[in-house]
Amino acid sequence: MSSDRVLLEVRNLTVDYVGDNSIARAVNGIDFDIREGEAFGLAGESGCGKSTVAFALARLTRLPGLVSGGSVRFQGEEVLSFEKARLKAYRWREVSFVFQSAMNALNPVIPVSEQIMDVIETHNPELGEKGARARAVEMFELVGIPPQRLDDFPHQFSGGMRQRICIAIALALNPRLIIMDEPTTALDVVVQRDIIEQIVELKSRLGFSVLFITHDLGLMIEFCDRIGVMYSGELVEVAPASSILTNPQHPYTRALGSSFPPLSGPRQRLEGIAGSPPDLRALPQGCRFSPRCPHAMALCAQTAPELRFYPEHESEAACHLLN
């Protein structure tokens, strides 16, 4: 379903968190593309920089976070140098957001109708209140919530319904890209499945791209076309979802895959990843994964490997073992 045309091009994106006496480089020069109609996943453990990337792409990074370098091109235009008016159109008309917790993403004291209509009215003032309401009704029908509940307040909906409302708000202006930062983490597995199926269905109908962030690798493999695996602020592997677990190239991806227990087959001992991620303020020289890597060589501790494309696996990986 994804075409080969690139929608969003991220090059050497670097994000720092600035402290009083220290700088933590949360995202260290990462490169990836999101194609039109594609679902691109970012996986990795907590604190690896997934959400920081998502926020940077939408220019939502706030102090102490700072996008300190690189480029983000949306349909060829440089997002990082957008001025205020262009940014306003970019955010929501072209790129929209679904947050992790549906519980907190809606203002508890104003009706949901107002929260979907305000974004429509702000960006399409010519529609007027009536037009905005009609569009809101349409969106509610699209995500399967009875439009007569439009004027209810957030607390009157279940968690799953609230997340659907958030998706309706994200879809309201028919954007090209929706960034979903752990959209189903706060929901139980049944509701999670419903929502994901709905997103898949809407995606094929409306043709938007998705940047999907989660630490649930299983869910991600089902939903995404390609997956990028992040470790300590760097992309260590970008591969098609179909092969990322069956044919992982990077030792970290392999280790991540083997931390999931198989549901069938003989019982086997799970392999964890020894150690913990490095402190971003005191990074090891060379490959960041090398202190925890079972295959580390002398070279790994000295120079950091670059993300390179390996045509035989159709994937990109950053590891000295592959050379």
Binding site: L60, R91, W92, V109
Partner: protein, 323 residues
């Protein structure tokens, strides 16, 4: 509605508890108010005259009978007869004083709440900026002043030295009370300094409260989402952040009523303002039991009414309390 009914029932109960305490506490103390009057006649009263005076103070019969009589007269708004301004009924003195106190405290609260809250909104929105780093510490400092100091300083500077404002009273004796611009203007002129002194020590509290709640809310997902939606700054600030931050402020407002009425006592004394506080001051000095008791009840009632009003306001403003 069940919520409100429950609150009202609670407040009625609390009021009767206050009435009961108010009845028993003076009777636990040695002596009674009638003794003072009787003594002032230096034994020139006969048995039946003494009995008549004691009866007028509700001091005849068993304790239970006295209590029933007391509750009955409270319900008829009969607070007995003032001993100091004998035979003036206490009720009329109370309501006269309460009217002027209401003018003072009402105006002061109104301005302090509105101005303080707006300053807090502004300081939180541009936190760390000039406005915030200048006014926040100053307002905290002002808030730490006692009303007595501020009232004395203002009185000394503007009434005694500069003579811009009158030395006392609620209005000039030359104008008789009427609903005319002249009279109202005169009242406001006399109220300026007392109102200002209550205002100065209280608006910092609203500034600080609003600022703190606002800053906490700024990190909520729904606020970040509102900004990402491209809504105008104004809309995010007032409709999404301040709209939520005002809820705890309203509750704090009700709680502050008691404190402010207490503070008004000193202010009225300094400015020789004929409010409840000034009468209470005199009444305590001259053991006017019926006035002190009535004032206590009025204070209790006004705190309860303020709480009830804040409950109603909360039900109107917070949809989560309505169901």
């Amino acid at each position: 509605m069940i919520f409100l009914a429950r609150r009202i029932a609670f407040y009625i109960g609390a009021f009767f508890l206050a009435v009961t305490f108010n009845f028993f506490i003076p009777r636990l103390m040695p002596g009674d108010p009638s003794a003072r009057i009787i003594a002032s006649f230096q034994g020139r009263l006969n048995e039946s005259q003494v009995e008549a005076i004691r009866k007028s103070y509700g001091l005849t019969g068993s304790l239970w009978e006295q209590y029933i009589t007391y509750v009955g007269s409270i319900l008829r708004l009969d607070f007995g007869i003032s001993t100091v301004q004998f035979p003036e009924p206490t009720a009329s003195l109370l309501f006269y004083g309460a009217t002027w106190t209401l003018v003072l405290v009402g105006l002061a609260i109104f301005f302090a709440f509105i101005i303080g809250s707006f300053m807090g909104i502004h300081a939180a929105w541009h936190r760390g900026g000039f406005f915030d780093s200048f006014f926040t510490p100053i307002n905290v400092m002002l808030n730490a002043f006692t009303p007595a100091i501020v009232a004395l300083l203002l009185f000394y500077a503007f009434s005694l030295q500069l003579q811009w404002f009158p030395l006392g009273r609620a209005h000039s004796t030359s104008i008789s009370p009427a609903l005319s611009f002249e009279f109202i203007g005169n009242v406001l002129y006399h109220a300026t300094l007392p109102v200002l002194s209550i205002f100065l020590v209280s608006f910092g509290g609203w500034h600080l409260g609003m600022r703190n709640v606002m800053i906490n809310l700024l990190n909520e997902d729904f606020v970040i989402l509102a900004k990402a939606k491209g809504l105008s700054d104004r809309r995010v600030r007032y409709r999404y952040v301040a709209r939520n931050a005002i809820l705890p402020q309203i509750t704090a407002l009700a709680l502050s009523i008691g404190f402010l009425l207490g503070g008004a006592l000193v202010t009225e004394q300094v400015f020789n303002y004929p409010g409840l506080g000034k009468f209470t001051f005199t009444a305590i000095g001259s053991r006017d039991y019926s006035f002190i008791q009535g004032q206590l009840l009025l204070l209790t009632a006004s705190v309860l009414v303020a709480n009830l009003l804040s409950d109603i306001a909360n039900v109107i403003l917070d949809p989560r309390l309505r169901t």
